[in-house]
């Protein structure tokens, strides 16, 4: 019994330093689950269409299809229980030749969407950090 408590304490102590997210909700839950992600993606689509710096790229986009894929994608990258049914990132953005600048514009729009969705900053940063890792698969394709 006391050994078990000791182990628990040790695990908790270790977690303070190393794995602050372990006992917490998954990122998917922190995003507000499927509903939260749906709100976020809807807001993102509004933002990119309203951003003259990149709206041209989305001019012919089938929003309903894009919304469904982006929801799945974010759900999956946030450790939710979803299967992304769209194209791999390089294929999804091939032929667009997205520049580093345009990537940044998208990130800014996405940040605005996360703010409108009232996501806490820590959650925003956790999600953004995961998406930022994909930049090389998205730019200059």
């Amino acid at each position: 019994m006391s050994i078990r408590i000791g182990l628990l304490l040790a695990a908790a102590g270790g977690c303070l330093g190393a794995c602050a997210t372990l006992p917490q909700a998954s990122l998917h839950q922190q995003l507000g689950g499927a509903d939260g992600i749906a709100r976020l993606v809807a807001a993102t689509i509004v933002e990119v269409h309203g951003d003259p710096r990149i709206s041209e790229l989305f001019a012919e986009t089938d929003d309903a299809y894009f919304r469904a894929r982006l929801e799945e994608f974010i759900c999956q990258i946030a450790d939710g229980d979803c299967d992304y049914a769209g194209l791999p990132m390089p294929d999804a953005h091939s032929g667009m030749d997205i520049s580093e600048r345009e990537f940044n514009y998208f990130v800014e729009d996405f940040e605005r969407a996360m703010n409108t969705s009232r996501l806490p900053l820590a959650v925003q940063n956790r999600l953004l950090a995961r998406l930022a890792r994909l930049r090389d698969e998205i730019i200059r394709q």
């Binding site: 600048r101 940044n104 940040e111 959650v123 953004l128 950090a129 930022a132 890792r133 930049r135």
Partner: protein
């Protein structure tokens, strides 16, 4: 300072459109010697927010006042393409303590710094590697006769430095966190305000900063310095700062700096204030 703002207007006409290619704050602030970074040390970032094909122009004014001394800087910088930075700074040291002790004529000690910085590779925010940059700072004392009173060998010199900086989006407490390290070879005494030595020194500088939110940055900095003058000890500098970045166009920083011993007066500490504007 008036000259500085006139320059800014001129430079802003060069900048075709406001540079918006990078995340807010990713250009740091103009330091006391004009190079982009924290208040006292350069980072591997290019001043401003220029992305591919963009220019950015910046001007800043800052003051550190320790009571016995005050250091004022007016600086201008150009950032291009998130690749290259050119800067000019005029540092001016007020010598109240020395003047009152009748050890110096009643005059400020001015030193100019022309800086160039090149991003060698990597990206501050994206990818695993940090961003690397190499920089040059040419310095010239405008009051060489006074600097030589302090025992300096030369009235001009140059620094070469290498910086590595990284920003983690999901850093400390899931806040954006920036760490930076700079290795410098310098012949300047007190940044050149006390002239230059024949002998060069290698120094190490570092910063750690956390974005409380995208508009507020707190940080600490440390700047190793040489200690070569027999007449007066020179110490490392350090500071803590809080910067407010309401937009790409305005940055404001308030800090508390420890400048160690200056001109034989130990324990020089005081507030640091810096304002930066960009079109």
């Amino acid at each position: 300072m008036r000259v500085g703002w006139a320059w800014l207007l001129l430079l802003s006409s060069l900048a075709a459109a406001a540079a918006d290619g990078r995340l807010l704050g990713s250009g740091g602030l103009l330091s006391v010697e004009g190079s982009a970074g924290g208040g006292l040390v350069p980072w591997a970032v290019i001043a401003g927010h220029s992305g591919q094909g963009q220019w950015d122009a910046l001007a800043s004014a800052s003051v550190v006042d320790s009571g016995d001394f005050d250091l004022r800087t007016g600086a201008l910088a150009l950032g291009w393409n998130n690749r290259m930075e050119l800067s000019f700074a005029r540092m001016s040291l007020g010598l109240d303590a020395l003047v009152q002790a009748n050890r110096f004529p009643d005059k400020r000690l001015d030193t100019d710094v022309i800086g160039a910085k090149l991003r060698l590779g990597g990206d501050l925010v994206y990818g695993r590697a940090p961003q690397f940059a190499a920089g040059l700072q040419w310095r010239r004392s405008r009051d060489a006769d006074l600097a030589s009173l302090a025992g300096a060998d030369n009235d001009r010199g140059y620094d070469v430095y290498l910086s590595a900086s990284k920003l983690w989006i999901d850093g400390i407490a899931s806040r954006r966190t920036l760490a930076s390290l700079t290795l410098r070879s310098t012949d300047a005494n007190q940044l050149g305000l006390a002239g230059f030595s024949d002998q060069r020194s290698i120094t190490l500088e570092s910063s750690l900063a956390v974005f409380l939110d995208p508009n507020w940055l707190v940080g600490i900095e440390y700047r190793g310095k040489p200690d070569r003058l027999a007449s007066a000890r020179e110490d490392a500098w350090s500071d803590v700062f809080l910067a407010w970045l309401p937009s790409r166009h305005w940055h404001l920083a308030l800090g508390y700096a420890d400048l160690g011993s200056i001109g034989g007066f130990p324990g020089q500490r005081g507030y640091y204030l810096s304002v930066q504007g960009s079109p």
